[in-house]
C-alpha cells in the first residue's frame, strides 16, 4: 500500500475512533459511578441525532449551533431516566445486576419504537450545513471537515469531563465512586450525584450524536450500529476510566480501519473483537481498569 493510502486509512480510523471514544465516555462514566451498564446508550445517541434533525428541519439552524441545546436536552433526559427508572432499579433487593441490564434494554426497545412513532422508519440526513461534504486536502490525504469538527469537539468534551472531575462536584463524584455508602456520612447526597452522573453521561453521548448527525444518516436503528462498538470500547479501556475510553476508542478506530484495508471489510469488526479478547486475556479489567 502506498504511504498516502496508509495515511488516509489511519486518518479515517483516528477520526472515527474519537467519535467511538466520546460515545463510550458517557457509558463509562455511568458505569464507573454506579456499576450500571446502560444498554440504551446507543438509543440516547439516536435521540440526540433526531433532535438535531428535527430542529434543523424546523429552523434550518446549523447542527453545530445546536450543540449546547441538544447537550442540555440530553442532560435533562439522562437525569430523568435516572430518577424515573435507574434509581428504582438500584433499590431492588433481588438480582440487581440483571434488573438494571434488562431495564435499560427494555428502555432501548421502547425508545426505538417511540422514534419510529414520531419520525417514521425513513432514513433522514441533515444536509447543506456549512461543513457538509467538504474536505481538507493535506498533500493527498483528505480530512472531511464534519469529522474533523467532531474530533475537535470530542477532545474538548474530554477536556471538559476532566475539568469537571477537578471541581467540588467532581470530587464528590469520585468519592461516591470510591465508597457509595460512606459518602452519605459526610453529607453528600448520593442520589443527586448519581442523577448528575447520568445527566453528564447522556450529555456526552448527546454531543457525540450532534456531531455525528453532521455526516451520518439518522434512523430508528442507528444506535444499534454504534452500541456494540461502544460496549467494547468501554470494556477495552476499563469501565469507569475516561482515559481508557479515549485510548480504546482510537485503538478500535484504527484496528477497524486497518482490518478493512488489509483483510476483509466485512470482517473488520472481527478484527476489533479479536484485539479486545486478546487484551482481556492479559488484562481482565481492560487497559486502564482498576485491578
Amino acid at each position: 500500500m502506498p504511504v498516502a493510502e496508509i495515511l488516509q486509512v489511519a486518518a479515517g480510523g483516528l477520526l472515527m475512533g474519537l467519535i467511538y471514544a466520546l460515545v463510550a465516555a458517557g457509558l463509562s462514566l455511568i458505569f464507573g459511578l454506579m456499576d450500571v451498564v446502560n444498554f440504551a446508550h446507543g438509543e440516547l445517541m439516536m435521540l440526540a441525532m433526531y433532535a438535531v434533525f428535527a430542529i434543523w428541519q424546523l429552523t434550518g439552524a446549523d447542527p453545530l449551533l445546536l450543540l449546547p441545546v441538544v447537550a442540555v436536552l440530553l442532560f435533562g433526559l439522562g437525569m430523568a431516566i435516572y430518577r424515573g427508572l435507574i434509581a428504582r432499579a438500584l433499590s431492588v433487593q433481588f438480582n440487581r445486576g440483571m434488573v438494571q441490564i434488562f431495564v435499560t434494554f427494555g428502555l432501548a426497545i421502547f425508545i426505538r419504537g417511540a422514534a419510529q412513532f414520531v419520525w417514521g422508519g425513513e432514513f433522514r440526513s441533515v444536509t447543506g450545513h456549512w461543513l457538509a461534504d467538504r474536505s481538507l486536502n493535506l498533500g493527498g490525504v483528505f480530512l472531511p471537515l464534519p469529522q474533523v469538527a467532531a474530533s475537535l469537539v470530542c477532545l474538548a468534551a474530554f477536556a471538559g469531563l476532566l475539568m469537571v472531575s477537578r471541581t467540588e462536584f467532581g470530587k464528590a463524584l469520585e468519592a461516591t465512586r470510591e465508597d457509595r455508602d460512606a459518602v452519605a456520612l459526610i453529607g453528600i447526597d448520593r442520589d443527586r450525584i448519581f442523577a448528575m452522573g447520568w445527566g453528564l453521561g447522556a450529555g456526552a453521548v448527546g454531543i457525540a450524536g450532534v456531531m455525528l448527525a453532521g455526516f451520518y444518516y439518522v434512523g430508528p436503528n442507528v444506535g444499534a450500529s454504534f452500541a456494540v462498538i461502544a460496549y467494547v470500547t468501554v470494556a477495552l479501556g476499563g469501565f469507569g476510566s475516561m482515559l481508557g475510553a479515549l485510548v480504546a476508542g482510537v485503538l478500535i478506530g484504527e484496528v477497524e480501519a486497518f482490518t478493512a484495508a488489509l483483510w476483509e471489510p466485512s470482517l473488520k469488526q472481527v478484527g476489533v473483537f479479536a484485539v479486545y479478547l486478546l487484551v482481556l486475556t492479559f488484562r481482565p479489567r481492560g487497559l486502564f481498569g482498576k485491578m
Binding site: V9, G13, R124, D133, V222
Partner: protein, 411 residues
Amino acid sequence: MKRRALLLSAGALAATGRMARAAEDVVIGVVYPLTGNGAAVGLDAKAAYEVAVDIVNGTHAPIPMLMGQGGGLAKLGGAKIKLVFADSQNDPQKARAEAERLITQEKAVAILGSYTSATGATISQVTERYEVPYLAADNSSPSLHQRGLKWFFRTSPHDEMFTQGMFDFFRDIGAKTGRKAKTVALFYEDSIFGSDSSNVQRKLAQAAGMEVVADIKYRAASPSLSTEAQKLKSANADVILPSSYTSDAILIMKSMNDIGYKPKAMMAQAAGFQESAFLAGAGALAEGVMSRSSFALDATKSRPAITPVNTLYKAHNNKDMNDNTSREITALLTLADAINRAGSAKPEAIRQALVATDVPGDQTIMPWKGIKFDASGQNTLGTPVMQQVSGGIYRTVWPFELAVMEANWLV
C-alpha cells in the same frame, strides 16, 4: 338495475356452489417489515398496496391498464379485495408465522410480499404447504424461483435479469460513444441480496470481458465506510457496481466524496439507491449515479397509466412511485386480474389463472415487455431499464427507445 344484474350473476354462480362467497371480500395477505430495520421500505409498500387496492375496488375514471376500470372484481359479482397487512420485522420465522396466520385465520387466498429474500424464502414455503399462491412483488434473489415450487410466482425480474440488463447497457453505450468500460469494482453488503447480486455481476463481467479490479464485501450498517471508499478510490474502476440498502448507499457516497474521489461511473443494483431518502441524503453527490430499475416514472408516453397511478400514490404517500412501490402495485394488479379471470377465490383456481397470465407491457405501469410466468413461476417478460440521476431525479437512459435523455457517460 345494476343490483339486479349482480343478483343474476350471483344466481349463475350459485349453480357452481360458489354463491356464498360471491359478493364476499376476497382477502389477500401482505407480509412486510413494518417495524425494525426494513420498516421504511415496508411502510412505502403498505401505501402502494393501499393505492392499488383502491384502484381495483373504487369508483373512478378508468385508468388505461390491467384492472384499471375499478368497481371490484367483475367476475366475482363486484367483490372487493381486502388486504390484511402483517409485520415480519424482517425475521424469517415471524414472516412464516404471519403467513400461516393470514392463511388460516384471516382466510387469505393469496399472499403478497415481502421485500427481503430471507422472508420470501420462508413465506413461499408456507404457501407451498398450504397450497395458496405466493406472489413475490419485489424479492429479487434468483435462488427463490429455483426450488421447484408450485405456488410461487414472481412478477418482478430477478437479479440475473437485472444484471444482464446492466451489461447490455455497458455494451450499447460503449458502442454508441466509443468509450468502452473495461474494468468494474464490486461493492456489496454482506447479506443474501449482496451476495446474490455480486455473484451474478462477477459472472457477467467475466463473460463481457471486463476485469473485476475490486471485489469489496462490506459490513452492512457500519458506523464507517471510509476504508472501503479508499479501496474503491485505489482501484479506480471504470464502473462501480454497488449493491446496498439506503443507509449504506448514503454513507458510501459521502465517504467517497470525503476523500476526494469522484467515480467515473456508478451503476447500482437499485435497492437503497432508488429510495427518495438516498436522493435527499446524498443530495448533489448523487448526480450522475446510475441504477437499474424495473420502473421508469418518465415512460409516460408508452405507459399512459403511470400518470394517473402516480397521482393517486403521491396523494396517499407524499412521494413519487419508485422501483419498489411500482412493482408492488403491479403485483397486486396482476393478482387481482388472476382472481378475476379465475372467477373464484379458490386458491387452486387462482393458481391456474396466474399460470395462464399473459399481460402485454402497455397494460401495466412498468416498462416491461409484459407479464408471463414460466414453469418456475418467474415472469420472463420483466425487462429492466437503466436510469441516471440528473437534477435530483432518476431519468431513463436505456433502452434507448425509452430514454428521456442521453446518458452522461464519463468512462
